[in-house]
Symmetry: C2
Subunit: 147 residues, 2 copies
DNA sequence: GCCAACATTAGAATGATTCTAAACTTAGAA
DNA sequence: TTCTAAGTTTAGAATCATTCTAATGTTGGC
């Protein structure tokens, strides 16, 4: 049964430039200007952005930057585990998730926005045949969110 | 709570050529040779095939056929509700589902196969904040299936 | 048989993402 | 410092599933 109390929701990590540079070094990535800039957005400000979103922000805030760099950087961040890559049926674009806690998602069909749902807020019970060995599951809720 | 008894699983509809032709007419689609052939596979034999799978079967069993026809036909079948189109995160390709009952899916990480899970076999309870109005959900289980 | 509507087709176009190969930049070592 | 190798960025080409285009073929009712 789900908890009665509302679970504390993921709070966006507030990181200084130095924190970001250190995180990158810790993961074996050089803290280049482009990477640090992209991280500021993708780790601290953005909410499930697409590569296109990241590129738009970067062009606006860091000056001209190649789309290849956006993809390279997002790919590296995913590889070292600072970011997750998700794909949903309603779009062909990947979205990047800075919430590293295990969680599910809610798709707002009106706005197209994705909201995080903490695992504690959902409970799944299953009754499958013996042959099925479940190792994990993803739940995508769909609906609308009140203003 | 999930039922104790195992739900009867979706049985693949066995349709004669005539049945298929009638279904197509009923939906306002001309029962062309290509369409009927594709339906034989995609409605009666296949299990979550990709467009590529359908094309391979069709080339093999119907003779030369354009990929565009495969996509056109699958699209029409989806439009009239004889088929569903699904996309999963683990692949960029759409898969087509002839199970029209509401159901969830199990992804076998070893074989890459998708299995249907009747809705009665899963029960989801949720405890979300007031602003969320849930209109539906998709559950994707992942794991392996015993031989 | 004739025609308009509908289908099929080859190949071009699209769009997200990845690759290529050249030009930069960086971190150390000397 | 200077040098160099490794790592990074970049423009543009390539990839791949899917959609579009526009020409050709087929059908069903008259
Ligand atoms: Mn990736
Ligand atoms: Mn489609
Ligand atoms: Zn998330
Ligand atoms: Zn299915």
């Amino acid at each position: 049964m789900p908890h009665k109390r509302r679970a504390k929701t993921h709070i966006k990590m507030q990181m200084s430039r130095q924190d970001i540079e250190q995180s990158l070094r810790d993961k074996g990535l050089q803290p280049t200007l482009q990477r640090v800039g992209i991280c500021q957005f993708v780790l601290c400000m953005a909410d499930h952005p697409t590569a296109e979103d990241v590129h738009a922000w970067a062009e606006q805030n860091l000056g001209k930057i190649s789309l290849a760099t956006i993809y390279n950087t997002l790919g590296s961040l995913v590889d070292v585990g600072l970011l997750r890559e998700l794909k949903f049926s309603h779009s062909e674009k990947s979205i990047y998730d800075n919430n590293l806690d295990e969680h599910h998602h809610f798709f707002d069909v009106k706005t197209g926005l994705i909201h995080d749902i903490p695992v504690q807020n959902l409970e799944l019970s299953m009754n499958l045949g013996k042959p099925f060995k479940v190792e994990g599951y993803e739940i995508l809720l769909k609906g609308t969110v009140k203003p």
